[in-house]
Symmetry: C2
Subunit: 320 residues, 2 copies
């Protein structure tokens, strides 16, 4: 049993939502199942590293969900319980599964959510700001100035309402995570590669653009990397794919203990794999049961999916 040096597994802080989701897709439905960005993220990341969660639930939050988090070793000292009902979301996906159609959002206790970080939380080296109000994201960022690496998510809702604040977050974090539509909207560019370039011109240090079934693109000032999506055999529910991606991404960086471009590439692949696992089930069910060996196998499949030998001699001989 190999035991890496203590401190290699840098803890990860997530600030986001814990919700009860009712979701219908062409492949089934669930009612008031565990959901929310912090839930998907932390269960995904927990396969790689210690996770600390900052979120709020109501006093109706089922003990079983709390126990699930605890069974994954997730530190719940930042999971506040407020008087009232837990955040609820109800949505459905059409047959193309590309977009969630929100049927109902009950913010409940989440409407007054104000992240409270103690000393330990503030000293966490890796930080994920899930798609909450950018003003709250900025508040958290000011408290974790010493973090080694910060990753933010956002959503069209905030890009439409607070574009300047979203851009401020984008400039302050190390990596900004967006999906295709968000990147196009924020950058004002339809071609994704140009959108990524534009976001860097707008001040981002690096961005990850999630492209759904087409994979993900990483763009920094020094590197550009593309990974396809892992080809899932049975898609059930796309909810939480992006947060599970983020969990795999930061989880890998923590676990491998490196922050160089090569590690970023591996982390993107790990993120892609965790997203593929999340969408195979409703709620984070598949994320809970997956074994690390399967994660490693899927990373190998993705490697095999894109690998080819370069043979420049075929082209550079002088033969016409």
């Amino acid at each position: 049993m190999s035991r890496p040096a203590a401190g290699v597994r840098a803890p990860i802080l997530v600030v986001g939502s814990v919700a009860l989701d009712s979701v219908r897709t062409p492949f089934g439905e669930v009612t008031e199942a565990l959901g929310g960005s912090a839930s998907y993220f932390s269960i995904s990341a927990s396969h790689f590293a210690p996770v600390r969660m900052i979120a709020v639930v109501g006093d109706d939050f089922p003990a079983a969900h709390r126990e699930l988090f605890e069974s994954r070793g997730i530190d719940l000292s930042g999971l506040e319980t407020s008087a009232g009902r837990t955040f609820r979301w109800r949505g459905e996906y059409s047959v193309d599964l590309g977009h969630a159609h929100t049927l109902e959002t009950q913010l409940n206790v989440f409407s007054a959510f104000h992240p409270k970080l103690d000393e330990t939380h503030r000293a966490t080296p890796l930080v994920f700001l899930a798609n909450i109000d950018p003003d709250l994201q900025l508040e958290v960022l000011r408290q974790v100035r010493g973090a080694q690496l910060t990753l933010s998510d956002t959503m069209n809702y905030w890009i439409a309402r607070k574009p300047d604040r979203v851009l401020e977050v984008l400039r302050e974090v190390d990596i900004a995570l967006l999906n295709e539509e968000e990147a196009r909207a924020l950058a004002g560019e339809t071609q994704l590669i140009r959108a990524a370039d534009r976001l860097l011109e707008q001040g981002a240090r690096s961005v990850i653009i999630k492209k759904g079934e087409h994979g993900a693109l990483f763009q920094s000032r020094d590197d550009r990397f593309i990974t396809p999506a892992f080809p899932v055999a049975s898609l059930s529910d796309p909810t939480g794919a992006g947060d599970s991606f983020a969990g795999g991404f930061l989880g890998w960086l923590s676990r491998c203990g490196r922050r160089d471009p090569g590690a970023m590439r591996q982390a993107l692949v790990a993120g892609s794999v965790m997203a593929s696992i999340a969408i195979e089930g409703f709620s984070p069910t598949r994320l809970v049961e997956i074994r690390r060996e399967e994660i490693a196998e899927r990373m190998q499949v993705l490697h095999q999916l894109v690998d080819f030998d370069l043979d420049p001699s075929v082209l550079t001989s002088n033969e016409p």
Copy 2:
């Protein structure tokens, strides 16, 4: 100067259209410029191998275009000249550049096109059937029974009108080339990976699905491969991207002299590169001027874009 064994550069036959295109995109426009599937394909493939063209033009076809083909060493013995006007297409692209909006199609002499193959044409080892009427594609296929490798293209127009004939072509060729929408329509599946699987169930030996800015997917009974699109700095006109892709794909297979899965992967990358070159200019202007060294460089960029080191030990240690 290395000179590969004679016969390694297997000639390639293309059956398709030669047209005069008037195209407008957000980046410019051209009027009655050289276009057509056989034009893009043959100029693209001519960087790799000898090409023989089967097509028809009217007696108004500019001598300069014929000379351009000849300067690329393209065998025009199958380029028929009929009394009448050359096929004309007029279209425009909106800002997202995803779809051509056809403003006018004048088939002219192309409406009576009936591919005529002589003995040399019929003995060509590599064959590309561009997106003509599937009945004509089947006629050609019956004449090239001895071909080493056949590749077909199609379009939504034929999938809507003659789905059974399109499927018949798909079953008879070695590789069927489709774009995303065509694959979804023909397979009746929205997820592309499932659409590819379904096309194989429907009898295809292997398929290539072109995904525009997201690259291309190759799926055979034994292999699956994904290449991203080459990130172009300045997109001008998407017309001919698919045919240029096909030219690079078959051209590479001819030039490398192999047909194994590794060669198919390289060929897909070469195809992706040729598509990226085509769309940087209007008409096949950029395809004409590109040097083989640049093609090799772009293949290297694509390799670098997807390459990552596997490090399973990060995950498989027993440390929690």
